[in-house]
């Protein structure tokens, strides 16, 4: 049903496209600072630049009605050329002249190209050989650590990718929405269902446009890739803040992605990590944003401030909740570096950068609203519902309850309190200097940041205005607690004098915590099943039809869930409309403008609530056709299981009857869940003459 090789091919092609566009190509043309030229630096700096670039570009091109593959390529190549020219402006001979001269040189001698080719092969061979040697040396030096990294990352990724490998459908309903919005965005229709940040959609649309990749493939794997990048962002932040303490970093990653303590006991976080969601995508830039901002204070380099501002703009482009949290993270960094903040008007510079970045990010929605588009209804209702809190519990009681539930956080803050007292005594009484240095700054940053996250999480109970809904805040709460844990553990390890003692502490600490999570029941998070809006058979059929039949020459009759997939490749007819027409005695024929028509019927209709799963019956087919009175049509016909069952049953019995009297309909696919019928009447179009009328004639 789900061929492994097909899935692997899809995944590889998606990963290759994503990394090529957002990481590898930009990293060839970006100049990195000397202190930020590691692999993770290159990954996140390139990703930050390219993500913001394409988000702005997509919105700009839509603004002038020119978003398409050609313009994306032309602008990208143009920018690369300009960037190369800018970097090579000091060179006396331009690169084009050099290329021309090389070409002429090559033609001088018949064997010259062979020599050049050999030289190139040798260079590639030597380079790969040296990298292989480096890898071998690293493995032989740290075999256990590298294996542990491979296992942790491997298992975490297997968990996140499992759904994509075992299902063809998406794990959440939001993914379907993002798919449809992205398709419309690629077709230059923005804010289809109202104003909403389209940064995530811009990224999907860019990959789709530049690689001609089916958006289904992008959305199917984007969630898991997002999780991978979130994991790496944590590794990046910790490596920049505590140095190359790989054991601590591994432990933190392990706890964040496996432990229920770090997940704040909320399996929704895991479910979200399997799905393509804009908030999670924006969260990739949370830790890099904090890291760049921290590096700005540490090094005084403007490039880091620019990068932090870019992260801010990306989050503003993508998701408001991440903007809120990143703003608070910046405030945390500012507090930790309050001494530097007010020197040389640094705060004004920061405000200017962040102001511009934020403005760039929110400009498209502002323009959308000014143009009279309404705000996205569902999101608005959701925010209204989540923001307004009626209950208020005494602060101390709330905090104590939270501390009781979240032992790890409580433990960290107790430790931090001791550390703070010790630090104050040392700084103010013994050395008499109050300014934070770069060694301690990460602890204060992460501690203040986590504290803010806790306050936001508890704000409804504390009677404070809620700025991030309580069901979303655990995502940020868990990440911030991981950051504090990693930095705290790392700094604690560093404070131990003696290399052997320190190594022993780390090994023991790490092993104990890992064992605790793995062995103690309930400590490891269990994966949720995910929602089901489609049968995998339905997507299988869509993929096969797309591959085997001429594009734009087939029509699929099905519920609304297939519409997003089909758009751009074929046509879609709503099942409820089709059933309405076959029920209509006045209507003699049903015409389709394509050569092929496929009717998707669920023998066991999908119930999203999973409460009433049973096959359709003749009795269902004989029920009265449901007529919508108010509300969303699709919700009425497909969300309501009774109506859905009636539609599916009517379509099924009609098709069975039609097949008895006509030869142009065949069964395309038949499984216990679904039956798909194919109708072909020639190369022009399909005209369905009602079965009963045919028999009477």
């Amino acid at each position: 049903m789900i061929p492994f090789m097909e899935t692997i091919t899809m995944l590889c092609s998606f990963l290759f496209s994503y990394f090529l566009l957002f990481v590898w190509v930009p990293s060839l043309f970006i100049r990195f600072e000397e202190d930020s030229s590691g692999r993770l630096d290159k990954l996140f700096i390139s990703l930050t630049h390219s993500t913001l670039f394409y988000m702005i570009l997509v919105h700009l091109l839509i603004g002038i009605r020119l978003l398409e593959t050609i313009t994306l390529f032309v602008v990208t190549i143009g920018c690369i050329v300009l960037l190369s020219k800018y970097y090579s402006r000091s060179e006396s001979v331009s690169r084009s002249i050099k290329f021309l001269v090389a070409l002429f040189d090559l033609t001088e001698d018949r064997n010259q190209w062979r020599i050049e080719l050999r030289r190139l092969i040798k260079y590639v061979r030597d380079k790969s050989h040296s990298q292989l040697q480096e890898g071998k040396q690293a493995i032989s030096k740290h075999p256990i650590l590298i294996s542990a990294y491979l296992i942790v990352f491997g298992v975490a990724m297997t968990d996140r990718f499992r759904y994509s490998f075992t299902h063809l459908s998406f794990a959440s309903s939001d993914s379907y929405v993002h798919l449809v919005w992205s398709k419309f965005l690629a077709n230059m229709t923005i804010y289809l269902d109202g104003v909403y940040p389209y940064g995530f959609e811009s990224i999907i649309a860019t990959i789709y446009e530049m690689f001609s990749m089916d958006m289904y493939v992008i959305v199917r794997f984007m969630g898991a890739l997002t999780t991978l990048l979130m994991m790496l962002s944590l590794v990046y932040a910790l490596s920049k803040m505590i140095g190359r303490d790989y054991k601590t970093i591994l432990l933190t990653v392990f706890l964040l992605f496996f432990s229920s303590s770090m997940m704040i006991g909320n399996s929704v976080i895991l479910w979200r990590q399997m799905s393509a969601l804009s908030m999670e995508y924006a969260t990739i830039f949370l830790f890099p944003g904090i890291t760049f901002f921290y590096l700005f204070f540490k090094t005084n380099k403007r490039s880091y401030l620019l990068l932090a501002a870019e992260c801010y703009a990306i989050t503003a482009f993508t998701h408001p909740f991440v903007v809120v949290n990143l703003t608070l993270a910046f405030v945390a960094v500012g507090i930790a570096y309050s001494g530097k903040l007010f020197k040389n008007n640094t705060w004004i510079r920061i405000l200017a950068y962040m102001g511009v970045a934020g403005f760039i990010g929110i400009l498209p929605p502002i323009i959308g609203l000014l143009m009279g588009k309404p705000f996205h209804g569902s999101s608005l209702n959701y925010i209204k519902g989540e923001f307004i809190s009626n209950e208020s519990i005494p602060a101390l009681e709330t905090i104590l309850t939270f501390a009781n539930e979240q032992n790890l956080i409580a433990f960290m803050y107790i430790g931090l309190a001791f550390y703070f007292v010790g630090w104050c005594i040392y700084r103010y009484l013994i050395r008499n200097r109050g300014e934070t240095n770069s060694e301690q700054a990460p602890i204060w940053i992460s501690a203040i940041f986590l504290f803010m996250m806790i306050i936001i999480y508890l704000s409804p109970e504390l009677g404070l205005p809620s700025i991030v809904p309580v069901d979303r805040q655990p995502v940020f709460l868990s990440m911030s607690s991981a950051l504090l844990f990693g930095i705290g553990f790392g700094k604690l390890s560093l404070s131990i004098r003696g290399e052997k003692l320190r190594a022993g502490f780390q090994v023991l600490g790490c092993s104990a915590l890992i064992l605790w999570v793995l062995v103690v029941p309930g400590q490891r998070m269990e994966f949720p099943l995910g929602d089901q809006h489609q049968y995998d058979e339905s997507i299988r059929a869509y993929l096969d039809i797309k591959a085997d039949y001429p594009l734009k020459n087939w029509d699929i009759i099905s519920p609304v869930d297939e519409l997003g997939l089909i758009r751009g490749y074929g046509y879609h007819t709503e099942l409820w409309e089709f059933v309405r027409d076959i029920e209509d005695t006045e209507l003699r024929n049903q015409e389709f403008s394509t050569s092929y028509v496929f009717l998707f019927v669920e023998k066991i209709p999908i119930d999203i609530t999973k409460e009433e799963i049973r096959p359709i019956t003749l009795q269902d087919a004989e029920s009265t056709f449901p007529v919508v009175t108010n509300g969303l049509l699709t919700e009425f016909y497909y969300g309501d299981i009774d109506n859905r069952r009636i539609l599916q049953a009517k379509a099924y019995y009609w098709a069975e009857d039609y097949m008895k009297h006509n030869t142009d309909m065949t069964v395309y696919l038949d499984t216990p869940n679904m039956k798909i019928y194919k109708i072909y009447q020639g190369k022009d179009k399909v005209i369905l003459i009602k079965a009963k009328q045919v028999t009477s004639e």
Partner: protein, 535 residues
Amino acid sequence: MHTTILPTQEMAKRPSLESLLDEVLVKHQNPEDRHEIAAILESLGWNDIRAREIFGVADVFELADILWERCRSKIMYTSFSKVERLSFNEMAMLLIRQFLRGVIFAVPMAISVVCMLTLKYSLWSYENLSVELATSIAIGTILSFITVGGFTQAIARRGFFYIIQGYYNMARRITFHFIRLGFLVCLIICISILLLNLVIKVFPIDMLVVIILYFFFLNTIWLSVTVMYILKKELLFTGLIICGIAVVFILFSVMSVNIILAQLIALSLVSITSMILVIYLFKKAELKEEKGISPQLPKMSVTLFSTLPYYIYGTLYFTFLFIDRIVAWTRNNDFMPYLIWFRGEYELGLDFALLVLILPMGISEVVLTKMMMDIEISQKSYWGDEIHIMNRKFFTVYVRRLSQIFLTAVVSAGLLYWSLVELFAHFPTLNSKSLFTNSETYLVFIVSLVAYVLVAVALMNAVILFSLSQPDFVVRAIWISLLVNVGTGFLLSRWIDYHYAVFGLLLGSIAFLYFTTKDVVLVLRNLDYYLYAAS
């Protein structure tokens, strides 16, 4: 005053100033100044004593002064060499031959159009193809023109250069070198397309195969056509096209073979035959060459450098001709499944409009041959101080010729329009009648008709500039025109509708005409300089 009396024998050997000047000019035909002459004299063994003794001058420098003045007056007052003018009959025959040469080149195109109207298919097109296949074939065809355009120009330039001098062996070697390069580039493009499609899935594999096969075979055919053209065997290609269509007819209409397969078989047969013929024709031509002459070719980098502007022009010109189609077909109207989606309505209008070029192309050959012959003959009929008269005369001649070609193109457009109206009125069952019934096709047809009229005139300008060895002007003009074509066509097609890309072609053609005319005027106003530079 002391004068040396020379012995009688010495007097007899004493060179005249005229013979001495000739001797100096043998060493350097155009000495820069009197100092250079003095240097040459010294290199010939003249010193102050000898100069004084023989010509009674103070020293070599005085002698050089005298020779320099004579040298200058020699340039100004060189007596006319009698130029043989062609008789009326010779001239008429030459011009008719040139006209036919220009027209014959377009005959295969006309045959294809006739076949499309009657049979509904030709060697590489078919009216009832699915959009996917039509897209593939269109891409393969356009890509082949663009790829091979540069090589055809380079072959024509370099091949002709040797053939005119009778060096058929060198012509063959350089021509086949470019053909090899053409195949290499074709191969690289094929591999690049395949690899690129692995990363960017623009087309499914079946479409890609069709694109590559059509691209490859058409490339071969265009390369061999160029060789036939430089060997003046244009009719042969027309014959091959007819044979190819006959093969398609037998396979598709008689034997009911799939049209794509039939066309691919025919294309492969035509391309193989044409390549064999080209080799044979060159071998035959080489027999005309004097035995024993087999000079080495110049260094390849030198050849490439000197032909590079022609190569660039060829590539840009064919890109200019076809880019509006690509611009139109890439316009995403409503969730287009591929990057390029063939639109027959647009293609139809352009294909018919392209026929307008047949007549002006023939006339252009005639007009240009006459004009260049006049320049060649007349430049030797003016005194050195009459160059402004010569320049003015040829400017007037140019304006006259430009008007002629413009009028011819306009008449050709009118005739074409009228013929098509009559054709579809008398044969209403013809499949391409939508030319006048479909508003999009009609608009494309009319606008492109105007555009091609302008292109025809601009092409004459381009050929004049090429004849005077000024390819850089043409390259600059076509480059700007291409940018205008793409830029305006792209924006109009995106902001209004896909078929408005044809206005890009129109504006590009206006730019092409404007810039080439400006350049020709510039050249003709300084014709003496450019003739000197070209020699």
